[in-house]
């Protein structure tokens, strides 16, 4: 059956009885969500509620007694300087894990797909993509050891290069200087994060109709013009996916901070999840740790909701645009 036949048929039926048709087309899907929903409720929702419940207590964990203290933990948070430091550091984490990798990832994937792939063949571009992705495969524990060697103030690779090739006399103390440490952590995060958007965007570009590019090329559109006029709009859903997941990952970031700085020096690289971890497992202030985790969860919920609203709006606009056209 050809496309015209289908759409003609489609139109006829729609004219006949649109409402019944829509209903029939959309019914019977509900049961597919049941297994996932049960899993989510048991593994995530109930523990989440239990966590909030714990955050209303003073509890040292284990078999010790829980003492209900209402919102005291949250009130304490407001006056806790470290809590605020940790959340403002999250902004740096978002830059390092979402903003920069997104921008680099967009350009890289477009170059790999639209240029390298075309000029040097798909094998070259997928090989390069694999190279960019490797840091994502590395367990963070191992990556942390490697980056400690690179950033070491005395014997690290970066400082050796700075001293050897550029003759810098007073090489920076990357992980020991409170003004620098956060940038050092960011460097590792960017490194580990780049491959992720590249892979997602390239798979997205795979479903863009090559004719679009060919037509644009025939019209004399340069690479940049093709990038902004075709690539960006076509892979919008994936851009939203990357923005959302990376932002959330940035808010949750734990491993690299644990491996590189343990929140130091002088709390300059403290992040919320590490701060909550200290309270959970270091200080055994389970209730307070739970309160930090809850605030973090709420913040993440808000950020995620905002991004998803934007995404829905943009998708709705697109559908309207398609209808008007």
């Amino acid at each position: 059956m050809s496309r015209t036949a289908t759409s003609a048929h489609n139109k006829r039926e729609r004219n006949a009885n649109e409402k019944i048709y829509e209903k029939r087309l959309r019914s019977g899907y509900g049961r597919y969500i049941i297994p996932g929903a049960i899993g989510t409720v048991v593994i995530l929702l109930i523990p989440f509620v239990a966590n909030i419940w714990i955050s209303l207590h003073n509890w040292r964990g284990g078999r010790s007694k829980m003492k209900f203290i209402g919102l005291d933990n949250y009130i304490k948070l407001i006056g806790d300087e470290k809590f605020w430091t940790s959340f403002s550091n999250s902004i740096y984490m978002i830059v390092a894990m979402a903003v920069i990798p997104l921008l680099i990832g967009l350009i890289l994937s477009a170059v790999l797909f639209d240029y390298i792939g075309r000029e040097f063949g798909g094998k070259t571009s997928s090989f390069l993509r694999a190279c960019y992705y490797i840091p994502q495969i590395l367990p963070v524990g191992v990556a942390g050891i490697l980056w400690n060697w690179i950033l070491n103030s005395q014997t690290g690779a970066i400082n050796r290069i700075l001293a050897g090739f550029f003759g810098v006399e007073k090489t920076p103390d990357w992980l020991g200087d409170p003004d620098l440490a956060i940038y050092a952590v960011m460097l590792m995060l960017i490194w580990s994060q780049i491959g992720y958007p590249v892979v997602i965007f390239m798979s997205a570009l795979g479903r863009v109709d090559p004719e679009l590019y060919e037509a644009a090329a025939l019209d004399g559109a340069g690479w940049w013009r093709r990038f902004t006029a075709i690539t960006l709009p076509q892979i919008k859903p994936e851009i939203f996916v990357v923005v959302l997941t990376c932002t959330v990952a940035a808010l949750k970031v734990f491993g690299p901070v644990y491996m590189l700085t343990k929140g130091g020096p002088q709390s300059s690289t403290l992040v919320p999840s590490y701060y909550s971890y200290i309270n959970f497992f270091g200080k055994s202030q389970i209730g307070y740790g739970a309160a930090i985790a809850s605030v973090l969860a709420i913040l993440i919920a808000i950020v995620a909701a905002v991004i998803m609203v934007f995404q829905n709006r943009s998708a709705a606009r697109e559908r309207e645009g398609a209808l008007n056209a």
Partner: protein, 306 residues
């Protein structure tokens, strides 16, 4: 009776069209071959970037084959003075590598399959079925998975112990499966929301039920996206550290990342052994990625039918 023939034809038609286009593209590319110096500049830039990104891994390889004394005397940045495989042997023996490898492998594969399957179901209901309140459901899924692990570890630990799953690998399969599922649901349903209506309509006219439509029409088109997800989930579960640390307490249940961590005693770190261990533990995940990444570009996804 069998899969709707019209749908099959439609898909096949699209596929051949795309293949033909690819072929034309390749031919034109072959014919063109301009002596443009820019193309080499860009290639070199891309390769350079790849080298920079890989450089920390060279460090790992460099230190995996050094003796501990060599490492101490000459630091992490020097070449090994002799090729030493003791680190590798130590790691293999000390961690009983084959068992850890098998644990990691089956946990990751089963968990990734579980997540992909559940994601596909969810996305089918949400992205195509547009179940009422679907935006809210996706949002709820996403938000819950974003909770920091510390936040639910205590309740989860008590729950699983209460049902006698204290040291069971299935806890990891289930927990990782559900957490990854949310991501998959989000990604697949946002792609499926652009799924071409005409295909679904055609399937319906042919009398295909929801189940058959899912496997006969939707799944073949979403295959590439599912493959991407499977790779991500496999690697994420392979590297999962936090939940495995808490739930897998004995040697015969533990995974490779835990085995590496167990070499890091308090104030004790045999660097060459750890590096060698990291290196061989990286190999399976890397091979896996290489094998499956070929499917990533075969992009017959929803949008291609537009």
């Amino acid at each position: 009776m069998s899969m709707s023939s019209s749908v099959k034809n439609t898909i096949q038609g699209r596929m051949t069209a795309i293949e033909r286009k690819d072929q034309i593209k390749r031919e034109t590319a072959n014919r063109r071959k301009p002596m443009n110096p820019m193309r080499w500049v860009i290639l070199v830039a891309c390769v350079l970037l790849a080298l920079i990104i890989l450089s920390p891994l060279f460090l790992m390889v460099l230190n995996a084959f050094k003796t501990s004394t060599d490492y101490t005397q000459n630091g992490p940045l020097s070449l090994p003075s002799e090729l030493y495989f003791g680190g590798l042997v130590n790691f293999w023996k000390a961690t009983n590598f084959p068992i850890k490898f098998w644990n990691s492998l089956w946990i990751s594969v089963v968990s990734a399959l579980l997540s992909v399957g559940l994601s596909l179901f969810n996305a089918y209901a949400l992205g195509i079925g547009r179940v009422r309140g679907s935006a809210w459901i996706v949002a709820l899924f996403m938000i819950l998975t974003m909770l920091p692990g510390e936040g639910f570890i205590y309740p989860l630990f008590y729950m699983f112990n209460a049902v006698g799953m204290g040291n069971s690998q299935w806890t990891i399969v289930i927990i990782c499966g559900i957490i990854n599922m949310a991501f998959g649901t989000y990604l697949l349903s946002s792609v499926m929301s652009t799924f071409p209506k005409e295909l679904l309509e055609a399937a319906q006219i042919d009398g295909a039920g929801r189940w058959r439509t899912l496997w006969g029409v939707v799944f073949p088109i979403m295959k590439s996206n599912c493959a991407v997800l499977f790779i991500f989930f496999f690697i994420w579960t392979w590297n999962e550290f936090y939940f495995t640390l808490i739930f897998l307490t004995s040697g015969d249940t533990q995974t490779i990342p835990l085995a590496i961590a167990s070499l890091q005693g308090d104030r004790i770190m045999d660097v060459p052994t750890i590096n060698a261990g990291s290196l061989i533990s990286l190999v399976p995940a890397f091979l896996f990625f290489l094998v499956f990444q070929r499917t990533l570009t075969k992009g017959i996804t929803a949008g291609a039918v537009k």
